[in-house]
C-alpha cells in the first residue's frame, strides 16, 4: 500500500475510531442512563431559596470589550457536548467570528485563519495538542479552571507567536481554606479535582481524569464477540502548588500531563499517540501597591505520532511512522504598573524550541531509504512594552512587540504594533477601534481541517517565512436592561500561510522531503460580528451572528486566482440559553438549549472526465502488480477538478438540548446532566464523495445522547 494511502488509511481509521467510539458511547450512555435513572428520584414542586455555589451573581455589571470574551467553566456547562464533558474550548465555537471545523470536534477557525493560528495557553504555557479523543473535547479539565480569556483581536503586547486568537486558560488562583473538589463521571471519562490549603501558606490545586473507553470496549468485545483488538488510554493530570511567602511574594509550581493512545489490531496494526507535558514555575512580586513583577519559567513538550505495521500472515512486512514534536523552554519576566490614568507593562521573553517533523517508511530488515528526520532548533527572544492612558471616557492603548528569531544561521527581526482606542459615548454605550500586527514563527501543516492533535509543525525557514497578519476592527458596545451587546466590522490580511499543495498529501507521502508538498500563499478575511448576552435570575442566554468572507491565494492553485477558504461560512448564527426550571433549597433543575445555524463549508470536487495521455507503454506493463480498476481509469482518463473550494455544502443546522438535575446535600452537591446532541438528527455533511455513479455525503454525528454525573464538595 503506498504511503499516502497508508496515512489516509490511518486517517480513515481515525474516523472509524470515531464511529467506534460513538457506538461504544451509544451503548454506554444507554446503559448508564438507565442505571442512574433508577437512583434518581426528584422530589415535589416545593420552591425554596437555594444557594448555588459558583453561580454568577445576578445583576452584577458585565463589562464586555469587543474582541475580548472572558467566561467561566460554568458558562461552558450550558453547552451540550457529544462526550458529556464540560469543555471550555467548545464555548469558543459559539462566539462571533469563529467557524467550526469538523462537526463535534474542537477545531475552530477564527476570522478566516487556520486552526493552527490559534494560541492556547494554560497559565501562560502554550498547549499545542489541546484535544482528547480526536478532538471530541479539550484536554482542560473544568474542575481546576477559574476562567478563560478569549481574544480574537485587541491582543496584548505581552503575547505573541500566533495569528488568529489568544485563548488564555487560568487555573484557580485563590482557593478557600477548606478543601473543595469534585468527582465526575461520563461514559467517556472519570475524574475529579481537589483544591485547598495544605498549610497556612501552601495551597494545592489538583485534578485527574482517565478514560473508561478501554474497559468499556473490552466489555463490549466480550459481549458481542468482536475480533479487533483495541487498546485505548486517554487521560490527563494537573497539579499546582501555591506558596505565599508573605504579602509581597508568591510562588507557584505546576505540572500538567495529557496523553491519548490508541492501538487497533486487525489486518494491520495502527497506533496513534499524542500528548502534552508541561512544567511551570512562577514568582509574583508585589513591588508596591500598583506595581507587580511577574516572572515565569516553563518547559513544554508536545508530541503526536502514528504508526502502521503491515503483516503478511505473522511476518512484519512494512512499517510507516509519522511523528511531530516540539520541545520548548522559556523564561519570561514582566513588570506591570496600574495607575488611575496611566498603566504600563514591559517585559522580555526567551524561548528555545526544538521541532521535529519526522516521517519514516521502513521495510523491515531492509535499508531505510525513505526517512525524513529533520530537527530544527530555534530561538525566539521577544521584548514587549504596552501603555494605556485613560482620560474621562477615552482610553488609548498602544503596544510593541519585537522579536529576534534564529534558526541555525538564519536570523530574523520582526516588530509587531498593536493599538486600540475606545470611547464611552455614555455610561452604557461606546465605540472602539483596534489594530493588531501579528507574527507566527511556526507553521502547522493541517492534514484534515478538524482540529485533531495530529498535524505536523514546522518552523519558519528560508523557504517558509513567518506567517504575518494585519487586523483592523471598528465596533461598538453597549448594554440594555439585562443585555449587553457588542458588534463591529473587521478586516484581516494574512501572508506566508502554508498548506499542502494537494490536501490528500501528508508528510511521509509521495515526495521525498516534506517541503516538496508544501506551498505558501496569503489570505484575507472581512466581516461583521454581533454578540448579545443576557444575565438574569431565571435564565441566561447569548447569541452571536457573523457575516464574513474569507479567501486564500496561492500561486500554484487555481492559476493564482483567489479562492474561498474551506471554512468560509458566509453566515454563522449561534445561540444558547440556560433556564432555571425548578429551584429550592435542596434542588435545582435547569434546561439548556443551544442552536447553531451556519452556511456550509466548502469542498473541491471533480466535475468532469476527459481523455488523457497514458503513461509510456502502460498498456504493455507486466502483470506482476495488481492495478485496481479505478487506478486503471486514472491511467487512461483524467479527472477535471472543479474550482478550489468551489462547492458549497448544505447549511449546517443543529439543535442541542440538555437537562440538569441538581441536588444539594449538607456536604456536597450532586448533578446529573442528560443531553441530546443534534436532537433534530440532521445529517450535516462532513465530506462528499462520488461513488456508484452518484454523489453521497458522509455525516459524522447524528442525534446523540450524553450523560454526566458530577459531585461537588
Amino acid at each position: 500500500m503506498p504511503p499516502v494511502q497508508i496515512f489516509i488509511f490511518s486517517t480513515m481509521t481515525q474516523i472509524r475510531f470515531l464511529f467506534s467510539f460513538f457506538s461504544l458511547l451509544f451503548f454506554s450512555v444507554s446503559s448508564f442512563a438507565q442505571t442512574n435513572a433508577l437512583s434518581f428520584q426528584p422530589e415535589g414542586d416545593s420552591i425554596r431559596h437555594f444557594e448555588l455555589k459558583g453561580v454568577d451573581v445576578y445583576g452584577k455589571q458585565i463589562h464586555r470589550r469587543n474582541n475580548v470574551y472572558r467566561y467561566s467553566p460554568l458558562m461552558s456547562r450550558t453547552l451540550i457536548s457529544l462526550s458529556g464533558e464540560t469543555d471550555v474550548i467548545r464555548y469558543i465555537g459559539t462566539l462571533p467570528g469563529v467557524s467550526q471545523g469538523m462537526e463535534g470536534g474542537s477545531g475552530y477557525f477564527v476570522r478566516g485563519s487556520n486552526s493552527g493560528n490559534n494560541r492556547l495557553e494554560l497559565d501562560g504555557v502554550p498547549v499545542y495538542g489541546a484535544t482528547h479523543l480526536f478532538g471530541l473535547f479539550s484536554v482542560f479539565p473544568q474542575g481546576i479552571i477559574e476562567d478563560v480569556d478569549y481574544r480574537s483581536g485587541r491582543f496584548p503586547a505581552n503575547s505573541g507567536n500566533y495569528l488568529a486568537s489568544l485563548d488564555r486558560i487560568t487555573t484557580d488562583r485563590q482557593v478557600e481554606k477548606k478543601f473543595h473538589g469534585s468527582v465526575e463521571l461520563s461514559p467517556l471519562m472519570a475524574g475529579g479535582s481537589l483544591k485547598g490549603f495544605l498549610s497556612d501558606r501552601l495551597s494545592i490545586v489538583a485534578s485527574g481524569r482517565i478514560s473508561l473507553l478501554g474497559t468499556e470496549y473490552r466489555l463490549i468485545k466480550a459481549m458481542a464477540g468482536l475480533e479487533d483488538d483495541v487498546k485505548i488510554t486517554v487521560g490527563d493530570a494537573f497539579l499546582k502548588l501555591n506558596y505565599q511567602l508573605n504579602e509581597k511574594h508568591r510562588f507557584a509550581a505546576s505540572g500538567y500531563f495529557s496523553n491519548d493512545y490508541f492501538n487497533i489490531e486487525s489486518d494491520a496494526m495502527v497506533t496513534m499517540n499524542w500528548g502534552n507535558q508541561l512544567m511551570r514555575f512562577a514568582w509574583d512580586w508585589n513591588v508596591s501597591e500598583n506595581t507587580r513583577l511577574q516572572t515565569m519559567v516553563y518547559g513544554n513538550y508536545y508530541h503526536s505520532g502514528q504508526e502502521q505495521k503491515d503483516y503478511n500472515e505473522d511476518d512484519l512486512t512494512g512499517e510507516l511512522k509519522l511523528h511531530s514534536s516540539i520541545g520548548e523552554m522559556a523564561a519570561q519576566s514582566r513588570i506591570v504598573n496600574k495607575g488611575d490614568r496611566i498603566s504600563y507593562e514591559a517585559g522580555v521573553k526567551y524561548n528555545f524550541q526544538l521541532l521535529k517533523p519526522r516521517s519514516e517508511k521502513i521495510l523491515v530488515q531492509k535499508d531505510d531509504f525513505n526517512t525524513r528526520n529533520n530537527s530544527f532548533e530555534t530561538i525566539i527572544i521577544s521584548g514587549f512594552a504596552e501603555a494605556s492612558y485613560r482620560f474621562n471616557r477615552l482610553e488609548l492603548t498602544g503596544g510593541l512587540r519585537n522579536y529576534f528569531y534564529r534558526l541555525k544561521e538564519d536570523e530574523l527581526f520582526e516588530l509587531d504594533f498593536r493599538g486600540a482606542v475606545s470611547a464611552h459615548l455614555s455610561d452604557k454605550y461606546g465605540i472602539e477601534f483596534s489594530y493588531d500586527q501579528l507574527t507566527q514563527f511556526h507553521h502547522i501543516l493541517e492534514s484534515l481541517p478538524v482540529g485533531w492533535s495530529l498535524d505536523v509543525m514546522i518552523p519558519s525557514t528560508n523557504g517558509f517565512s513567518p506567517e504575518k497578519a494585519n487586523q483592523y476592527y471598528l465596533g461598538g458596545f453597549g448594554e440594555y436592561k439585562k443585555w449587553i451587546f457588542s458588534g463591529g466590522a473587521y478586516y484581516k490580511e494574512m501572508k506566508n500561510l502554508v498548506r499542502y499543495e494537494n490536501p490528500s498529501t501528508v508528510l511521509g507521502g509521495q515526495n521525498s522531503d516534506w517541503y516538496s508538498d508544501v506551498i505558501t500563499g496569503k489570505g484575507t478575511s472581512y466581516g461583521i460580528e454581533v454578540r448579545g448576552e443576557r444575565k438574569g435570575e431565571y435564565w441566561d442566554g447569548a447569541f452571536s451572528y457573523t457575516l464574513s468572507k474569507s479567501d486564500r491565494t496561492f500561486a500554484e492553485i487555481n492559476d493564482g486566482v483567489s479562492f474561498p477558504f474551506r471554512f468560509d461560512r458566509r453566515h454563522m448564527f449561534n445561540t444558547n440559553a440556560s433556564i432555571t426550571t425548578k429551584t429550592s433549597s435542596t434542588r435545582n433543575q435547569f434546561f439548556n438549549i443551544a442552536f447553531s445555524m451556519t452556511s456550509g463549508n466548502r469542498v473541491t470536487i471533480p466535475v468532469s472526465m476527459y481523455k488523457g495521455v497514458e503513461p509510456p507503454y502502460w498498456s504493455q506493463r507486466d502483470r506482476g502488480l495488481y492495478v485496481s480498476p479505478r487506478k486503471m481509469e486514472n491511467a487512461l482518463y483524467r479527472q477535471k477538478i472543479g474550482e478550489e473550494n468551489g462547492y458549497l455544502l448544505p447549511s449546517y443546522v443543529r439543535l442541542d438540548v440538555g437537562y440538569t438535575f441538581q441536588k444539594k446535600k449538607e456536604k456536597y452537591t450532586r448533578s446529573l446532566t442528560l443531553g441530546i446532541y443534534n436532537v433534530l438528527n440532521r445529517k450535516n455533511p462532513y465530506l462528499v464523495f462520488h461513488e456508484d455513479g452518484r454523489w453521497q455525503q458522509l455525516s459524522i454525528f447524528p442525534l446523540f445522547p450524553s450523560v454526566k454525573w458530577l459531585v461537588e464538595f
Binding site: T11, F26, V607, K631, G642, Y647, P650
Partner: protein, 298 residues
C-alpha cells in the same frame, strides 16, 4: 417513567444511528470542454487528439470534435496543420528540433481559440557503462541534465523484430530501482530486494523520475538501473519538457490515490492533473527518447 423515556431514546438511536451516508443532490453539470492532447516526440510523425470532456457521471465515451483546425507553429512560424485520421486522432509529418519553442493553435467553431506552448528538450547526455553490468544491474553515466528525465525498462523473453525501438512485443517492468542521487522518490515503494534478492536499490513503480541538474562535472554522474531483466531489454531515457514532466508526475500521483479499489482515501482526493492548454484542457508537451538495447542470452 424515566426508564421508559430512556428505552425510547435507545430505540430511536438504534433506528437512526447507522444512517451516516446519504445521497447528495450535487449537479456540477460540467462537461463539453475541448480537450487537446499532443506530446511532441523525436519521431517523424506527430499525433494529437481533440475531444470534449464528459460530466463525471457519464461513461468514458468522449465526444468527437469533427471540425477543428490543429496547427503547429515553431518559433511563431507555421509548421503545418494536423490531419484528422480517426475519431479523435490527428497526425502531422514533422520531426521537432531540440531547443525550439512550439505553439499549438486549435480552432473549433463556436469556441475561443485554444492555445498551448512547449519547448522541445535537448537530449540529456546519458551513456551506458556496459563493462560493469552484472545481473540485475545496468550501469550508466549522466553527463548533462538540463532537463528532467524519466527512465523505465522494457523486456521480452522471445526475439523481437526491432532492436532500434521497442515494439508491441515488449513488457514494461513494474519494479525497477536506481541509485541515481537525483531520483525523485514520489513513487518509491520500499526496496527492490523484495523481488530481486541481489538488488541493492530502492524500488519504484514502473517509472523513475530524475530531476534536472546542471552543471555536471566532466566525470558525470554514474548510476545503476536494476530490474529483473529478460533476454531482450530496452532501457529508455526520456528527456522531458517541463510540461511533460509535470503532466506525467501529477498523473502518476493521481493514480496512486486509487491503488486500492476500496481505499477511502479517494474521498479526499482533490489532486489536479497538470494542464497547459488555454481555453480548454489537456496537455501540449514534448519529450526526446534514447533507447538502450541489451541482449542478455543468459
Amino acid at each position: 417513567m424515566e426508564n421508559k423515556i430512556f428505552l425510547l431514546i435507545w430505540l430511536l438511536l438504534v433506528i437512526l444511528h447507522p444512517s451516516c451516508v446519504k445521497d447528495l443532490p450535487i449537479d456540477p453539470a460540467v462537461g463539453g470542454e475541448v480537450v487537446v492532447n499532443c506530446i511532441l516526440t523525436s519521431d517523424t510523425i506527430q499525433t494529437a487528439s481533440v475531444t470534449r470532456s464528459v460530466p463525471i457521471d457519464e461513461s468514458f465515451i468522449f465526444r468527437e470534435v469533427k471540425d477543428a483546425e490543429v496547427e503547429l507553429l515553431a518559433e511563431g512560424e507555421s509548421v503545418g496543420y494536423f490531419e484528422k485520421t480517426g475519431y479523435d486522432h490527428w497526425e502531422l509529418n514533422y520531426r521537432p528540433v531540440g531547443g525550439t519553442s512550439y505553439q499549438l493553435v486549435v480552432t473549433v467553431p463556436d469556441e475561443p481559440e485554444i492555445t498551448a506552448a512547449t519547448i522541445m528538450p535537448y537530449y540529456n547526455d546519458v551513456r551506458r557503462d556496459q563493462a560493469r553490468d552484472t545481473y540485475p544491474t545496468k550501469n550508466f553515466i549522466q553527463y548533462s541534465g538540463q532537463s528532467p528525465f524519466w527512465m523505465y525498462a522494457l523486456s521480452a523473453d522471445s526475439e523481437i523484430e526491432n532492436y532500434q525501438k521497442p515494439g508491441p512485443g515488449v513488457t514494461l517492468k513494474s519494479g525497477i530501482g536506481t541509485d541515481h542521487p537525483n531520483a525523485d522518490r514520489f513513487n518509491q515503494e520500499g526496496n527492490l530486494l523484495d523481488i530481486l534478492p541481489t538488488a541493492t536499490t530502492p524500488a519504484f513503480e514502473y517509472y523513475i523520475r530524475v530531476d534536472s541538474i546542471s552543471p555536471i562535472d566532466e566525470n558525470g554522474i554514474p548510476f545503476q538501473l536494476q530490474t529483473n531483466y529478460g533476454q531482450y531489454n530496452f532501457v529508455v531515457i526520456r528527456t522531458a519538457s517541463t510540461e511533460y514532466d509535470q503532466y506525467l508526475k501529477s498523473s502518476l500521483q493521481k493514480m496512486e490515490s486509487y491503488t486500492d479499489e476500496e481505499d477511502p482515501g479517494q474521498w479526499f482526493d482533490e489532486r489536479r492533473i497538470y494542464s497547459n492548454v488555454n481555453n480548454g484542457t489537456g496537455i501540449f508537451a514534448a519529450c526526446a527518447d534514447i533507447y538502450f538495447f541489451y541482449h542478455d542470452p543468459n
